[in-house]
């Protein structure tokens, strides 16, 4: 019998239909990544092909926009939001519009074209996280930005560049999906006086069956109402609303959890493209009691059909318990 499960945060119902049951090997990789190493603007030595960097971690004595870096952040050359200009909020009859003011930058995660988070050194992953943190703290100083997120589109068909990178996006409004999480978490907090995310962490630790990995400070699990097969979340175990305030000792354990997760994913679903998004509290203190930063990872295995788009109602052919078991049991280096 298929099950209907409700996401406690978004209040979204998902059909878990394991009768259509699919194993990892049923998901065939459809396209190969092209070799774009010759013209890659993100490689070391090609700094002149990109806009000027906004932050880099580099060897002492090397110049900005030259060789010698290990993580580098640049403005996107085709930004979806731009930092200059006025908000220009305007109504057209019953419709509202504004200028797309914001920040859109690219974090180049390694000078090496073929490095990926799952096969980088753990130190490199830690440096990427430091770069996110440092850049977000800088962007947060501008009061016109209400929210920011880190997004990663990895793999064939999802990104224009194969060189490992992620995006930092700051917006003048709180995006709808985050607004929904806030609403769900706020309601729960008003009813129980507890953080819903903290309660989920506790229940996942107790239930065990959806757990993928844990270390001292983070847990990784497949959500109870996963919309997609092999969907995962990484969450700090203690209550932490703001990612950008992450403490030094947590940077190391977060790097471990992130890399371990992507290693497991790569082992179970080799070469499959995925999306990753880091959700943190909006840039205001009003959400700190009930919002809890986390990372969502979604391997792109299925085509989302019109039914899903049009209804917001997802059909998932792999139970999160089966997905978690495969991810948990796999041997990784």
């Amino acid at each position: 019998m298929p099950q209907l499960r409700k996401d406690p945060i978004l209040k979204q119902w998902v059909i878990i239909s394991p009768e259509r049951g699919k194993r990892p090997s049923d998901y065939k990789k459809t396209i190969e990544e092209p070799d774009d190493s010759a013209e890659c603007p993100f490689c070391e030595g090609k700094e002149h092909l990109t806009p000027n960097e906004t932050l880099s971690f580099r060897t002492a004595g090397t110049d900005a926009n030259k060789k010698g870096w290990w993580v580098r952040i640049i403005p996107d050359s085709e930004p979806i939001l731009r930092p200059e200009g006025e908000p220009g909020r305007e109504g057209f009859g019953m419709f509202d519009a504004m200028n797309s003011i914001g920040v859109h930058e690219v974090v180049i995660e390694s000078p090496n074209h073929n490095s990926r988070i799952h096969n980088a050194t753990n130190d490199q992953v830690r440096e990427i996280i430091w770069a996110y943190k440092q850049r977000l703290l800088e962007i947060k100083k501008n009061p016109s930005y209400k929210h920011f997120m880190v997004v990663k589109n990895s793999g064939a068909g999802l990104s224009n560049f194969t060189h490992s990178h992620s995006h930092i996006i700051a917006t003048p409004i709180i995006p709808k999906r985050v607004e929904e999480e806030i609403e769900g978490a706020r309601e729960y907090y008003h009813y129980h006086d507890r953080c819903l995310f903290c309660d989920i962490v506790k229940q996942e630790q107790k239930d065990q069956m959806r757990l993928v990995y844990e270390n001292d400070q983070f847990i990784v699990f497949c959500p109870f109402a996963s919309r997609f097969p092999f969907e995962m979340q990484i969450m700090p175990k203690s209550h932490q609303p703001f990612f950008e305030m992450i403490e030094n000792n947590l940077v190391q354990t977060f790097a471990d959890a992130l890399q371990n997760t992507l290693k497991r994913q790569e082992a179970v679903l080799p070469g499959q493209p995925y999306n990753m998004v880091l959700h943190t509290s909006p840039c205001s203190d009003s959400y700190k009691d009930f919002y809890h930063w986390h990372v969502e990872i979604i391997p792109k295995l299925t085509k989302v059909a019109g039914f899903e788009w049009g209804s917001g109602f997802y059909i998932n052919p792999t139970t999160p318990e089966d997905a978690a078991k495969a991810l948990r049991d796999i041997a990784i280096k």
């Binding site: 200009g85 519009a97 309660d199 917001g312």
Partner: protein, 334 residues
């Protein structure tokens, strides 16, 4: 400067990257190879499908045999099962219930190569009558709160078979996207005592720049905050909350506008994969004052990346005003 636009019903913001002045041909269409397997939806292969639930067929022909014009069958791989009780239960912070529901397939034509763009007007009316009849029948089942009628056309849009078909899913819950529309429309109604969709239609008709087609009872337009290039909505001009209440005359009007709209999309975008979905009131709670049924058509010409699902923020490279111009004027060169 890119523009942010807000959907007045769901409050969703869309980033419109209209400056690149893209042309319809800039959107890559994924054409899947034609299927060569024996098609279970073709006449003569009725034994390959579950037993039919209803059909329009010529006199003196038997169920589950050739001679039909439209045929409805249960989905062979249903996402939900028709038998059983809901057995709602809680597991700590989580809630769940049994996946009880209906999942049906409407085979729109005996002809494998057909489509909404080339059906005769009688055929398209038969298909729409079938939707209405199945809708009315299932809405009597008290376990169901919502009935979704939708079409995935082309494999990139999620269709697993080429033969023209649409689907119907009856669910014991109200889907999230519909719930958001209901909430948004209710808020607007409390504020203005007018239907938000009626106001949108009035503004679209008076501005004219996003209209694709209209007839006596329906209008097709590109929404102001379109999520996708060439997203198109069809809505009744008069205030109607429930698709199931449509009458015979209106079905003819709907047949006309659906065909005209889909023809334009197919011509402008070189036969794109597309989806459409009917949004109507939940079963048994007529939202007479504030909801307004409509059809959302989404050509699938872009990939949706992490930013969209992570944020609920859509990026659209084609302004709806420009899309409308391409659709209504085949000679428009941008």
């Amino acid at each position: 400067m890119p523009q942010l636009r807000k959907d007045p019903v769901t409050k969703r913001w869309v980033i419109l990257l209209h400056e690149q002045k893209k042309l319809p041909a800039d959107f890559k269409i994924e054409h899947a190879p034609k299927q060569t397997n024996k098609c279970p939806f073709c006449p003569g292969n009725e034994n390959m499908t579950p037993v039919e639930l209803m059909s329009y067929r010529s006199e003196n022909t038997l169920p589950n045999e050739p001679g039909w014009q439209v045929r409805v069958i249960p989905n062979r791989f249903p996402a939900l099962q028709i038998e059983g009780d809901l057995d709602r239960m809680g597991l700590g912070v989580y809630d769940m219930m049994n996946g009880v529901g209906a999942h049906e397939v409407i085979i729109e034509s005996p002809n494998h190569e057909d489509g909404f763009h080339n059906y005769s007007s009688e055929q398209i009316s038969r298909v729409l009558h079938t939707y209405v009849e199945r809708y009315r029948d299932l809405s009597r089942d008290r376990r169901f709160r919502y009935i979704l009628v939708f079409k995935n056309n082309g494999s990139a849009a999620g269709a697993s078979l080429d033969h023209p078909h649409s689907q119907l899913i009856a669910t014991p819950i109200i889907p999230k996207r519909v719930m958001e529309e209901l909430e948004g429309a209710k808020t607007y109604y409390y504020y203005k005592e007018r239907c938000v969709f009626c106001d949108i239609i009035r503004q679209e008709l008076s501005q004219g720049e996003r209209i694709i087609h209209e007839n006596e009872s329906f209008v097709a337009f590109e929404p102001f905050a379109s999520r996708f290039p060439f997203e198109t909505w069809i809505a009744p001009k008069d205030h109607k909350d429930c698709f199931g209440d449509i009458d015979k005359g209106e079905i003819d009007g709907l047949a006309d506008i659906m065909q005209a709209t889909i023809k334009k999309l197919i011509k402008t975008l070189d036969n794109p994969p597309f989806n459409f979905i009917i949004h109507t009131s939940p079963c048994g709670e007529h939202c007479t004052d504030y909801f307004h049924w409509h059809i959302e058509i989404m050509p699938r010409v872009t990939k949706i990346a992490g930013f969209e699902w992570g944020s609920g923020f859509y990026l659209n490279h084609m302004s709806p005003e420009r899309a409308a111009r391409f659709l209504i004027n085949p000679n428009y060169k941008g």
